[in-house]
């Protein structure tokens, strides 16, 4: 007797993978970047589907397929969620304390750096004829 296709293990796996690869997209918006709610939601749905598939495969093996594939997909899914969580909740939080950074009320250290056209720009240039300066230090485009 031909057993039925156990679709939740496939759907769950696809949703988990989508949860991983959609990070680049959701990171473009502050609301889903500051806390990766969208990705965690997809992981949750994906893992739930995988579990449903496994319950079917192992609970009613005479009806549903997917014991081996379901186990492999579930293991990969859990690994993906674990690595993602490690990266987001641990690695990204390893930022130097910057205790020596200029504080409120202190004068900002002067500088003279080249802009994208190769022109030197100093802090004095930025301060002249302006009411304020926003300095944004960023990691770079690599």
């Amino acid at each position: 007797m031909k057993r039925r296709w156990n679709w939740p293990i496939w759907a769950g796996f696809v949703v988990v993978v989508a949860g991983l690869f959609s990070y680049g997209f959701f990171a473009r918006f502050p609301i889903t970047r500051d806390f990766p709610l969208a990705n965690l939601l997809l992981f949750g749905i994906g893992i739930a589907l995988l579990l449903l598939g496994l319950f079917r495969a192992f609970g009613r093996p005479q009806i549903y397929r997917g014991k081996i594939l379901g186990s492999i997909f579930a293991a990969i899914g859990v690994l993906v969620v674990a690595l993602f969580s490690y990266e987001i909740f641990y690695v990204l939080r390893q930022v130097p304390a910057s205790a020596g950074a200029p504080r409120i009320g202190q004068k900002a250290p002067d500088f003279l750096l080249l802009d994208q056209s190769g022109k030197p720009v100093g802090l004095g240039d930025l301060l002249s004829n302006s009411k304020g300066v926003a300095l944004i230090f960023y990691r770079g485009f690599w």
Binding site: V95, P96, K107, L113, D115, Q116, G118, F137
Partner: protein, 117 residues
């Protein structure tokens, strides 16, 4: 992620300009990379190049070894200076994914101005 922050400032740039606030980015990227990225992503504010991280060190916002091949780069950090170059607002995130939003700086700037001025 760096892109999302700079892009958000580019989107709100008219509001900074209307208030007389100059917006600049600083990183270890060389000017040609900054030029290419500005063209590609449409940034019209200066991206300053600090390839040896001298200024980044002076501001104590270095993230040692966090760049490609273990290069020293800047950690995300944002400062709002008044017209005298005094720091009036600062954001030193403890999570690389969480950056200052333009509205935070605009809000901080509006609070610097005495009422009615």
């Amino acid at each position: 992620m760096c892109n999302s922050e700079l892009r958000s400032f580019q989107q709100r740039l008219p509001e900074f300009e209307a208030r007389g606030i100059r917006v600049v980015g600083i990183s270890v990227d060389p000017p040609d990379v900054n030029e290419r990225q500005s063209q590609k992503l449409g940034y019209t504010f200066p991206l300053l190049s600090d390839p040896k991280a001298k200024v980044i060190r002076r501001y104590d916002v270095l993230h040692p070894g966090a760049g490609p091949k273990g290069a020293d780069i800047a950690r995300p950090a944002e400062f709002l200076l008044d017209s005298n170059g005094i720091v009036r607002w600062v954001n030193l995130t403890q999570n690389i994914a969480v950056r200052a939003r333009p509205e935070q700086l605009l809000q901080a700037f509006s609070e610097l101005q005495p009422a009615g001025q």
